[in-house]
């Protein structure tokens, strides 16, 4: 029983990271139908920039803020210089552009920063919290609460605000969005900035637990993408649940079977779910009349 609780805690922590990456996917996907494979690089940048700013003497909160703002700016630049010039290209081409961008960002970070693993001090110390017979690091709580806070913020944004609806409208029908007065160029800029900022925040939160190096983005993007697909692409609720489930599958497999199989089992479960529900757990079936 104690072991189970321990696995659940570690699964929720890892799952919350996947959920944060998946939430980042959600925004850009909602605005443009593009799956941004540079999302993992945003997480890496968040961690890396924070580490280097912190080592340069900035207090941790300020270093984190610097990283989030800088990464958001890089997200905006990605849209401006890589996605926008290719407007009108098929979605697949745009996705390949984002893969190219992720390779570029990774390479540049290797040169600008270095190839070492880096760590940050935990925000609220390293004394484990005893809860229901197992222990939990305070930093895990930061990650889990961060994922929930971002989820609630995004959910309110897309369902309660006119600007959020404008983002959805832009993805659904860009022409009509312009006709009702929505500046679709601005919506795209905003989406990339928000996505990148959420990615960077994930990086900041998770670096004290998992460490960061220039190449952590690849794996995170893949897991985040899998989580988003499992939950239903484009739905914040799906991203959160998908991420947490994926983390739990991995942790339980690692605990009860073998850590070598943790990814295999997780992906088999995802395949099984998608086989029965191709639109994901919370994805909407699209029905359209013409």
């Amino acid at each position: 029983m104690d072991a189970l609780m321990q696995f659940i805690y570690s699964g929720l922590t890892v799952g919350a990271v996947y959920a944060l990456v998946a939430l980042g996917f959600t925004i850009i996907y909602n605005a443009s139908d593009v799956v941004n494979f540079a999302q993992g690089e945003f997480v890496m940048l968040g961690g890396m920039i924070t580490v280097f700013a912190f080592d340069a003497g900035l207090p941790l909160p300020l270093a984190a803020l610097t990283a989030i703002v800088a990464t958001a700016a890089i997200g905006v630049a990605l849209n401006k210089f890589a996605i926008e010039p290719a407007r009108g290209a098929p979605v697949v081409s745009l996705i390949i552009i984002t893969i190219g961008a992720s390779i570029l960002i990774r390479g540049a970070s290797q040169v600008i920063f270095d190839k070492q693993l880096h760590r940050l001090p935990a925000f609220s110390g390293d004394d484990p919290i005893h809860l229901l017979g197992a222990t939990l690091l305070p930093q895990s709580l930061w990650v889990i609460c961060g994922a929930f806070a971002i989820f609630i913020g995004l959910w309110l944004f897309f369902t309660r605000t006119l600007l959020g609806k404008a983002v959805l409208a832009t993805a659904n029908n860009r022409l009509a969005a312009q006709l009702v007065g929505i500046n679709t160029g601005f919506v795209m800029t905003l989406s990339f900035a928000l996505s990148a900022a959420i990615g960077a925040l994930a990086g900041v939160l998770v670096t004290p637990i998992t460490l960061v190096s220039y190449d952590v983005g690849v794996g995170l993007a893949l897991k985040g993408f899998a989580a988003a697909m499992l939950g239903g692409m484009g739905n914040p609720k799906g991203a959160l649940v998908g991420g947490l489930l994926l983390g739990l599958f991995e942790a339980l497999t690692a605990g009860y079977i073998s850590s070598q199989y943790k990814e295999a089992v997780a992906f088999v479960v995802i395949l099984a779910v998608l086989f029965v529900m191709p639109q994901g757990l919370f994805g909407e079936k699209k029905t359209e009349r013409v």
Binding site: A166, L175, A177, V180, N183, R289
Partner: protein, 233 residues
């Protein structure tokens, strides 16, 4: 209110509008009729800014419009219900209407929505359903209602009768006629020449990118050339 002079537009190297002259005065209903491929939709797209013009002038309420991007034209008072309806299929009917008033946040938005529901009661019934599930006629009503939510001085309507059953066509044309009381100026583009000319004050006949006839709607209906070519009489 709206004046177009020598308007040209092209898709690549192929010019489809060869210098269009057209005027719409305040509170008029003006129709542009013509066969498929005459360039009517291209003309409206140039007016709403979703298709670039390659020459000529568009003036609206005294200002040049040619260089104003599409998303800023509604703020100037020009609203379009586009060809093929172009509603937000993934969003609910109510969300579509709310987005029609994207530029506004005052309490008049609620009142305008009530007006829209009064004009098209079926939309009220389906207000929480995804717009993509509506029938063609209901989608057309939604497109018109959404365009009106933007509080236009001038409404551009592209083929509102296309693909609809005769009963629905009559209902849509009744609504367009009723816009006169709401003091909205209307530019209506239609293949259904008879229906459009019956409710319009004036009309233009368009053929292969040019205006070939212009006049009062009643005169055009009586004109033998129009009757032969478009009314099938």
């Amino acid at each position: 209110m709206l004046s177009v002079e020598g308007l040209r537009s092209a898709y690549g190297h192929i010019e489809v509008l060869h210098g269009i002259d057209l005027n719409v005065s305040s509170k008029e209903i003006v129709t542009v009729v013509g066969a498929n491929g005459a360039g009517k939709t291209t003309l409206l797209k140039c007016l709403s800014g979703t298709q670039p013009s390659t020459g000529g002038d568009i003036r609206f309420r005294g200002d040049a419009l040619t260089s104003v991007p599409a998303f800023k034209r509604l703020k100037r008072g020009l609203s379009q219900s586009p060809e093929g309806r172009q509603i937000f299929t993934n969003l609910s009917v109510e969300e579509n209407l709310r987005l029609g008033a994207f530029l506004f946040t005052d309490e008049r938005v609620d009142k305008d929505m009530e007006d829209a529901f009064q004009m098209f009661p079926i939309l009220k019934e389906k207000r929480n359903l995804a717009a993509g599930g509506l029938s063609g006629g209901q989608q057309q009503m939604l497109a018109i209602a959404r365009a009106l939510m933007g509080r236009p001085h001038c409404l551009l309507l592209d083929e509102p009768s296309m693909g609809l059953a005769p009963l629905l066509v009559a209902q849509i044309f009744d609504v367009v006629k009723s816009l006169r009381e709401r003091e909205v100026t209307v530019l209506l583009v239609e293949q259904n020449a008879f229906g459009a000319l019956k409710i319009a004050d004036r009309g233009y006949v368009m053929e292969t990118g040019r205006i070939t006839l212009a006049g009062a709607a009643a005169e055009l209906i009586a004109d033998p050339r129009v009757r032969e070519a478009y009314l099938g009489i």
